[in-house]
Each structure stands twice: as structure tokens, then as C-alpha cells.
Symmetry: C2
Subunit: 244 residues, 2 copies
């Protein structure tokens, strides 16, 4: 988090409502995107941790998901809306170089969701349940099992080891780009990096099955570069269960 | 193609070496990207059509694939190298707003290749063979069947109708973005649009199985918008076999 006088002078800190696990970590890939976006701009913020069952109670019917950002009189939800708001209100260190990059990155997000996050859910949803605070688990189980048309989380994830190769392979385009440039945004990270980092933080917060093989040097080197930049935030590849 | 005095004043026209089919159309999705990139910048060019078997003979061992662009003393291959060269030498109407957008679009290209073009090859490779000039067909068959580990093109595509739903579904992120913005690049097309358009031109040049369902209004409306901009180039959705 930033400690620059400029960031401090702006008044009360923005508040980021997050989804908290029993281990105190933030559980939402979309919250993680905004954590990185705030770090990218060196904007200090105050974290407001909520359990799965507290979101509706906190915001009434207005918002059902986090991240939610309170910034002075503004109250915003949806990570894309928040990211664009941050570029409008804090134009230094832009997340997006141009409107065309917003559109292209949003298209990219569609593929990250379809090819990476969908497979992560398939493999790690029981781990998320088990990492949730005790009081959130039955809500989490019921809401997710409804989506699974009655299968239990245990049944749904029983073959998760067989699903792992397809998830690893889905990172192929990410690895190919990281062989060309140090970050997905080129010489510096941009929101494309944070989409993928956010998904990996989700796994790192809960996972009991290592995502990457131990010899996946391309992913490891990129995570280490990100960790150097965002020490307080990133999954430390030496501590987190991301690698075999 | 551009006819502005500025474009004409620059000397002899650049030459674009293309892959030509028996029907006279250009067969390579990578060539189509560059055709659109040149149209985007309103750069006139001269087309040099080559058959599959003429590429090596034309460039010796130097280039084995098209597009190849000859621009004065410069001779370049690889569509990404050509696109970046065009932005350096003709900086008006940039294809990329910033280096970060180059990186992000190249990552996007990885997903277009893995999720869309790979499935197109699976469905349309026999159509490409059949659309090639007579004298190119045995070369095309032998080189592609080698990649298929000895299966014939007919065997490989026998179940192609069953493969179609997965290809249609792979356009999900494209459709989602086109519901937000008129083009994948936002309010105007950029190279992200041309990646996808190039793939569709590949199919439109050869396909005997309609790619999209007749009620795919999102894809149809986008193709019509592109057709309005690039009338001489685009697949005309009313004539091409892209829709059922």
C-alpha cells in the first residue's frame, strides 16, 4: 500500500470490502484484481473484511458481491466498474493506456474466465468451502451445490486430479506471451497481469492441490517478478501451494 | 484500398504476397490480418498471389509462409512483425495505442489461435484442400496429413458437425464484448478485430459448412459493421457461407 504524501493528503482512505476466509486471506479473484489495481496506483486503502454471508446484510439488496469500494461519497461494485473509476479519478499510472485497450483487455477477461477460472472452480471449489469461515460454509455449500444441479462439492471435485492437465494447458497463451515480454502488459504489468494474478491468488488462498508443475519456470519467474513489485500482496511462490 | 494522394505519393506500392485458392480468394488468416491492417491505415498495395507450392520457390529458403510484405528495400514475413512494422513506418491510424496494447493483443491472439483457429482447422481443413488450386492439392494433403499422424483429411473431418457447437461456443467472449462495444477495439476496430476477422475470412473463403447459426445476431451485426468499413475486403455476411 502506498505511503506517499500525495496519497495521504487526499482525505480519508478508500475502503475496500473484501471476502475473508478463516485464514484471514481474501477469497475473491475479483477483489484481488482491485487490490492490485490500487497497488499499481500506489493508493492506500482500508480493508473491510466480510464473510460470504455478510455481504447482503452490509449493503442491503444493493450489492450481492464484492469488491465494493467506498471512496468519499462514492460507493461502487463490480471490479470492471471500479477499475475504470480508478483510472478516471486517479489518472496517474493508468491501468489502461487507451479506450481500445480497455475493450481488448475486457475481451481477454472473457477468455480468462472461460478457460482458466472455470477450470479453477472445477478443481478448487471444495477447497474454498473448507477455507471459508465456519459460519459461512453452509451458505457457500448450498449456493454452489444449487449451481451444480444437486451434486455435492465432494462429488463435483472427486476427479479433480484428472482435470489438472487441462487447467495447466489453458495457461499456454500466458506462457507464450511471458516468453516475449516480462509482463502480460509488456515491460510493466497492466490489468491483463492482474486478471491472471487475481485468479492465482484465489487458488493460492485456498488450494490443497498444487496448480503448476515444479518445472513450470515461466509461470514461476513471472510470479517472482510480480512479487518483487507487490511484496505485500502477491502470492509468494516459495510459500504458496501454487507449485508441486 | 486507399486512393488518397498521401498514400499514392509514397512511391511504388508495397507488395503483399498472399496465398491464393482456385476461386481467387486469399486463403491465409494471417494474410487477412495484414490486408485489414493495410486497409485500416488506408495504404494501397499490390497483391502478389502465390499457390501453396510457390512460396518456397519465390523466397528460396528465406520464408516458408505468407504474408510476406515487400516495401521498398524491406522484405518482411510473419504477420506480427509486419503489423508492428506498419505502425512504425506509417504511424497514422495506429493499429496499437501503446506497447502495452501490443502485449495484451498478442496474448489475446494466443487464445484466438487455441480456442478458435484450432477448432476451425479441425472442421474446415478438407474444405481448404478442396478449394486449393489443383496443382497445390497433393502438397497440401501430404503436409497436413503428416501433422495428423497419418489420418486422412477425410477421416479427420468425418465428425465435423459434432465439432461445430464447441467452435460456436468459443466465440462466447467475442460476443460478450460485442454487446458492450461496437468493435473488439471499442468504438473503432483495432487489431483484435482483425485477428478474429482474419480467422473468419479463412472460413468464408473455403467453408462448405456454415459456421454460425442463423440467429447469431451479435456476430452478424459486427460483420456487417466491418463490411461497411472495409467493403472491398470483408466477408459479406449476405454472400459468404458463414451463417446457416
Amino acid at each position: 500500500m502506498g505511503t506517499s504524501p500525495a496519497a495521504r493528503a487526499a482525505g480519508p482512505l478508500p475502503q475496500l470490502y473484501e471476502l475473508v476466509l478463516a485464514n484471514g486471506r481474501s477469497a475473491s479473484p475479483y477483489v484481488w484484481r482491485i487490490r492490485y489495481a490500487l497497488a499499481h496506483k500506489d493508493v492506500e486503502f482500508e480493508s473491510v473484511p466480510l464473510g460470504f454471508t455478510e455481504i447482503a446484510a452490509t449493503f442491503g439488496e444493493r450489492f450481492k458481491t464484492v469488491p465494493v469500494l467506498r471512496d468519499g461519497a462514492e460507493l461502487l461494485a463490480e471490479s470492471w466498474d471500479i477499475a475504470l473509476y480508478l483510472d478516471r479519478t486517479r489518472p496517474h499510472a493508468p491501468l489502461f493506456a487507451a479506450d481500445s485497450e480497455v475493450a481488448t483487455t475486457r475481451l481477454l477477461d472473457g477468455w480468462v474466465s472461460a478457460e482458466i477460472m472455470r477450470r479453477m472452480f472445477r478443481i478448487y471449489v471444495l477447497d474454498i468451502h473448507n477455507a471459508a469461515r465456519c459460519e459461512d460454509r453452509s451458505y457457500f455449500r448450498e449456493s454452489r451445490e444449487r449451481r451444480l444441479q444437486g451434486r455435492t462439492l465432494e462429488e463435483f471435485t472427486a476427479d479433480r486430479r484428472e482435470q489438472l492437465p487441462a487447467l495447466r494447458e489453458a495457461f499456454g497463451p500466458v506462457r507464450a506471451q511471458l516468453k516475449r515480454t516480462p509482463f502480460l502488459g509488456g515491460t510493466r504489468p497492466n490489468y491483463a497481469d492482474y486478471l491472471v494474478l487475481g485468479a492465482l491468488q484465489w487458488v493460492a488462498s485456498v488450494g490443497t492441490l498444487p496448480l503448476f508443475s515444479s518445472d513450470d519456470g515461466t509461470m514461476r519467474a513471472w510470479l517472482e517478478r510480480c512479487q518483487q513489485l507487490y511484496r505485500a500482496f502477491g502470492p509468494d511462490p516459495r510459500e504458496q501451494p501454487l507449485f508441486e
